[in-house]
Symmetry: C2
Subunit: 109 residues, 2 copies
């Protein structure tokens, strides 16, 4: 399947949250994998100290990616992480993680 | 082939250099593709204005990546870009591009 469009989610975790973050991705339910236009994803752990994790997902088109961000699969796939953030806020603590999506076109291989 | 190790080269180009940068990757000689341990690579053009290009390469191991950075293929593969930078410096101009390698382990898919 053609990999035309790439979304990179740059995720910053507090040091205490890293183990939990890795656990959540290691046990993800893979709802995203069944979506039309989804091709592949990789969760990348930085070798540099205190750097971002990258979640890199490949899609056949930008539309497929945008549809995912508005889908039930998106909410389900992030439910445990969103709940961790909600609990931290409710307890007056700083958020254990933050994320920033950037998108790209594959122009060469 | 197992994709264990990922190198991301974050490349910043001046606006004037972007077309040339894309041309260089579009016409690359693919010397890297023959190296042991090389799996795959993607050149990603940012959809956000004034953001970095990403060159994402997958390797079977960190050693394979490190061997590449010290290889003749690395020098050949970057020869035209390095020459552009050299010329700019010789002319007293700012560098048309800069790059920053970061490396990652694939922890989940």
């Amino acid at each position: 399947m053609e990999k035309n469009f790439v979304a990179v989610n740059y995720i910053r975790c507090t040091p205490e949250y890293r183990e939990r973050f890795e656990y959540l991705f290691g046990t993800r339910k893979k709802a995203i994998d069944t979506l039309p236009g989804f091709v592949d994803m990789y969760v990348l752990k930085p070798n540099q100290d205190d750097d971002n994790y990258l979640v890199v997902s490949f899609w056949t088109s930008e539309q497929a990616f945008q549809d995912w961000t508005k889908s039930e699969a998106f909410i389900q796939g992030h439910a445990r992480g969103f709940e961790d953030i909600r609990k931290a806020k409710a307890a007056g603590q700083p958020s254990p993680m933050s994320s920033d999506f950037k998108t790209y076109q594959v122009i060469s291989r």
